[in-house]
Assembly symmetry: C2
Homo-oligomer: 479 residues x 2
C-alpha cells in the first residue's frame, strides 16, 4: 500500500487518509469481506497520529461507508457492499472540487437573509420594483406582438438590439464609432466581466482593481488563478501614480475600473485622472475594463465622460447594462470593444449558454429605442436623488457624530466609515436582529469599520427607519 | 538580456522572441531612440536561426510596433513611441490567452456558413420556426399581463417555474420525488453541462463520454483540464463492460450520457444496459450526468424510462431543456440533482450571470403548465416523424448503395456512414458549394466517413432536395 500523506497540501491529512481508504475500498485494495486495519496499525504504517486515523474513520463512518463495532473492529458496510452492493457517489467531495470557487460565506449569508426574511434591504445593489418602468415594459409585451425568431438568435446578440445600443451609447454616452459588430450582448454586466477574465487572462496574470470595489467581492479572479493588486480609492477615484508603481512592480495585465459613482464608494474618478489613466494605459499598453452601470444617473445633471468616450485608441473594454437603470430582471448587459475581442468573447458565450433569450432582447430593444426611455431616466434620477437626500439626512440625524461619508452625486450606493472600532460580525448580527441589512465593507476589500448602504432598493420612509435601526445596532454592538 | 527561448513550449520560438522584444520595448530594455539589434546579431546572441528572427520582426512590424528600412535598420515606431507616445494594447495576445478555449475551427466555420449563406440546413441541431408553438407563446405575452418581479429573481430560478418543471418531470418523465429545491434553471442544457464541469470536476479528473457524441464537440473539457475517455456507441448505446474497464484503468470520476435518441447517432441505450450502467454507477460510486433533450419525442409512442427515473440512489444528475421541444430562443434548461449539488451550482450561476430573465421564465411556465403543452408535443412528434421518414427515403433513393444508417425512433438526428472513403473536408466544401450543409462526423469524435444530418430544421421538400445535392457532392468529392 504505497501511500503517503502530502503534508504540504491544503487538505487535512485525515481527509487524505479517508480518501485513500475509500479509493482502496472501491478498487479492492481493502477486500469487502475482511475487517479494515486497526487504527493502531494504520497509524504505525503511515507514521500518523492515532487521532488522525480516528478522524479518517469517523469521516468514512459518517458517510456510511464503514461500521465500527467493539470487538469486531472496523468493517466495510454490508448495506453498501454486501448483498445490495449499492452505494451513492460521494457528492460532498465533488462539491468541494471545481474551478469556480463558491461566493464568500458572508455574501452567501446576506443573500440568504434577504431571501428568507422581511428586512429593510440596504444591501442588494438594485432598484426597488416601483423604480422599474413596469407599465412601459408590460405594454410592449401586451400591445405589440413578438415577430422575431423563437430559435437561437445570433450568439453575439440580436442585431436590432445591438444597433439600438450602438445608437444609445453614441448619443447618451458619447462613445463614438460604436456599431453592431463591436457589441456583445451579455446576461448583465456580470457575465461580461466573467467572459473578459476567462477569455483574455490566464492563470498567474496580474490585474489591478479598485479598493474598495465590487470586483474585490467576486470569486472569479481567484477561481481563474489571477493575482489581484489594489488601487486605493479616494474621493476622486484612484490615483494614477499608484497604477504606474503597481505596473512596474507586478506587470499589470489589465485594469478593472468603475469610474462613475463607484460601487461601493459612490465617488467618481476626476476628469484629469481619467485622462492620466488613459495616458498610462497607452504608454504601457495595459487594457482598461470600464464597468459603467451608473453614468446616466448623475444628480447634478452634468453629462459624464466615460473613459471609453475619451479613448481614441481602443484601450478600453466598456461594460454596461440595463440592470441598474431599467430592470435587472431583463438580464441585458453588453460589452463594447475591438472586433477581434468581441468575436473571441462571443465564441465563448456561445459555448457557455448558447446566446441570449430572444424575448427579452426584443423587449429591451423596444424600450431603449422608444421616447419612454429618456423620460424614464429623468424620473429615475429624481427618485434616486430623493433617496440619496433621505439617507444622508438620516445618517446625520441618527449617527451624526459617529460616521463619515462622501455624498454621492449619482448611482445607488453610499459608503460610511464608523469612527469607533466595532466588531464587524457583531454589528451585522445586531442589525439583522433589528430587521435591517447592509453590506459590511470588508467584503468589498476595505479595512474594518466601513459599511455600504444601497439607497435604491427602499423608499424614503424605510431608509429612515433602516438607518434608525442601524444606529441602534451600532449602540448594541458597542456594549 | 537574460532571455532564452523555451524549446519545449507549444508557442513557436519566433513568437516567444517577438514577445520578449515587445516586453523589452515596454520596459526600456530596448530604448525608444535607438535602433533595435540587427537580425544577425539577435540570431547569434540567442543561438537562433536567422529566419526565426526575421519572423519575429515580421510579427512586430505587422502589429505596428517597429519599422524596417533599408540602410537605417530596425527602429521602434515613432508614431507609437515618439512624440505621441500612444500605443494600443496587443489585443491579439490577450485573445490567445484565457482558460475558455475557442470552438473547433470546423464548428466555427459551419456556424459562419449557416449565418451568412442561404443553405439547406441539415447541420443546426434545432427545430424549424414552424415547429415552435408560436401562437401559444405569443398569446401568453399578449393576452396575459406579466405580474412577476422585474428585479433579480431567485438565482436558482423562479420558484413557480421550478414547481411546474417538478410536476412535469414527475408526470411526463417519471422522475419521482423531484421538487423545486432539487431544480436549477439554466440557460439551456448547455449552461447546465458547463456548471457541472466547472463546479464538480477539477483539472486532471477523468470522465467518460460517448463516442460519437455532442460532448465530444465541446471545448469545455479541455478548457477545464479534464481528461476524456470514450465509450463507443452501437445501436443499443454504450456497452456497460466498456465502462467498467475504463473505470479500472483511469479512475473515471463522472459519466456523460445522452441515452435517448442520442446526438448524433439517434440510437437509444437499451433498458437492460440502462440498468447495468446504474448498477455500475452504484458499485463504484461514479455519478452519471444524463443529458436528455429528446426523450419526449418517441415516434413509437412508448414512454422512455430516463436513467433518472430508474435511479433511487441519487447517482444521476439529470439535464433537460425546452430548446429541442418548445423553442430554443427561450433559453430554458434545467438540472435536477441532490440539493447540496444544486446549491453549489446555483452559487456558481449567480456569479456567472446573476440568474435568469424573469420574463422568459414566466412565458415558459405558462406554456409548460397549460394544456397546450401536451397537444404541442403530440403535433411535434407527428411532424418530426414525417421528416424522419422523408430523410430515410431520400437517403435510400439517392445514396442507397453508398450509405448505412440506423433509423432513429425519436429525436432530430440521423447518423450516416459512407461506405467508400471520401476526403471529409472536400465533401464539406462540395456540399456547401451546392447549398447544403451538415455536420462532419469527426467533430463528434468518430473516425472519418460519417456525417450527421438534423432533419428537424428543414421541411420535407428541402430535406429531399438537400440529400439530392449531398449525393451530388459525394459524387464530386470522389472525382
Amino acid at each position: 500500500m504505497n501511500w503517503m500523506p502530502d503534508r504540504n497540501a491544503k487538505k487535512a491529512i485525515y481527509k487524505q487518509l479517508a480518501e485513500f481508504i475509500e479509493a482502496g475500498i472501491a478498487d479492492g485494495t481493502f477486500p469487502h469481506d475482511k475487517p479494515l486495519p486497526s487504527e493502531r496499525l494504520l497509524a504505525k504504517e503511515y507514521n500518523l497520529n492515532r487521532s488522525t486515523v480516528v478522524s479518517a474513520y469517523d469521516e468514512l463512518e459518517s458517510n456510511g461507508l464503514i461500521q465500527r463495532k467493539r470487538g469486531s473492529g472496523t468493517t466495510i458496510n454490508k448495506d453498501i457492499w454486501g448483498i445490495t452492493k449499492k452505494r451513492i457517489p460521494s457528492w460532498n467531495r465533488y462539491i468541494e472540487a471545481g474551478s469556480i470557487l463558491p461566493n464568500l460565506p458572508i455574501t452567501q449569508k446576506i443573500r440568504k437573509e434577504v431571501a428568507e426574511q422581511k428586512l429593510i434591504n440596504l444591501a442588494s445593489g438594485e432598484l426597488s420594483e416601483d423604480l422599474f418602468p413596469r407599465d412601459s415594459l408590460r405594454g410592449i409585451g401586451t400591445n405589440r406582438s413578438f415577430v422575431g425568431s423563437l430559435g437561437y438568435d445570433h450568439p453575439q446578440g440580436n442585431v436590432i438590439l445591438r444597433n439600438t445600443i450602438a445608437k444609445h451609447v453614441i448619443h447618451d454616452r458619447k462613445i463614438e464609432g460604436t456599431d453592431a459588430s463591436s457589441i456583445l450582448i451579455t446576461s448583465g454586466a456580470q457575465q461580461a466581466l466573467h467572459l473578459v477574465v476567462q477569455c483574455l487572462l490566464k492563470p498567474g496574470d496580474a490585474v489591478a482593481i479598485e479598493n474598495p470595489s465590487y470586483s474585490y467581492s467576486l470569486p472569479i479572479f481567484k477561481s481563474s488563478g489571477i493575482r489581484t493588486y489594489h488601487l486605493p480609492v479616494d474621493k476622486n477615484g484612484i490615483n494614477p501614480d499608484d497604477l504606474v508603481s503597481l505596473y512596474k512592480k507586478h506587470k499589470i495585465r489589465m485594469i478593472f475600473l468603475n469610474p462613475s459613482f463607484q460601487n461601493p464608494t459612490g465617488t467618481s474618478l476626476s476628469e484629469s485622472r481619467r485622462k492620466a489613466i488613459l495616458d498610462i494605459s497607452s504608454e504601457y499598453g495595459i487594457p482598461i475594463v470600464e464597468d459603467d452601470p451608473y453614468s446616466l444617473t448623475s444628480f447634478r445633471g452634468d453629462e459624464v465622460n466615460t473613459l471609453k468616450s475619451l479613448d481614441p485608441h481602443g484601450n478600453v473594454l466598456y461594460i454596461s447594462s440595463l440592470s441598474k437603470i431599467v430592470a435587472s430582471g431583463l438580464r441585458i448587459g453588453w460589452i463594447i470593444g475591438p472586433n477581434a475581442v468581441i468575436e473571441r468573447l462571443t465564441d465563448a458565450k456561445q459555448q457557455i449558454d448558447f446566446g441570449h433569450s430572444s424575448f427579452t432582447q426584443w423587449i429591451a430593444n423596444d424600450f431603449l429605442d422608444s421616447e419612454e426611455f429618456p423620460a424614464h431616466i429623468n424620473r429615475l434620477i429624481v427618485q434616486l436623488k430623493k433617496r440619496r437626500d433621505q439617507i444622508t439626512k438620516s445618517l446625520k440625524y441618527f449617527l451624526g457624530d459617529q460616521v463619515d461619508f462622501y455624498v454621492p452625486e449619482g448611482g445607488i450606493h453610499i459608503w460610511c466609515k464608523l469612527r469607533k472600532e466595532i466588531n464587524e460580525m457583531k454589528l451585522l448580527e445586531e442589525s439583522i436582529k433589528r430587521g435591517i441589512i447592509y453590506v459590511p465593507g470588508t467584503t468589498m476589500g476595505s479595512e474594518k469599520g466601513y459599511v455600504r448602504f444601497t439607497y435604491a432598493r427602499e423608499n424614503e420612509e424605510n431608509i429612515h427607519e433602516g438607518i434608525k435601526r442601524f444606529a441602534d445596532a451600532v449602540q448594541a454592538a458597542q456594549e
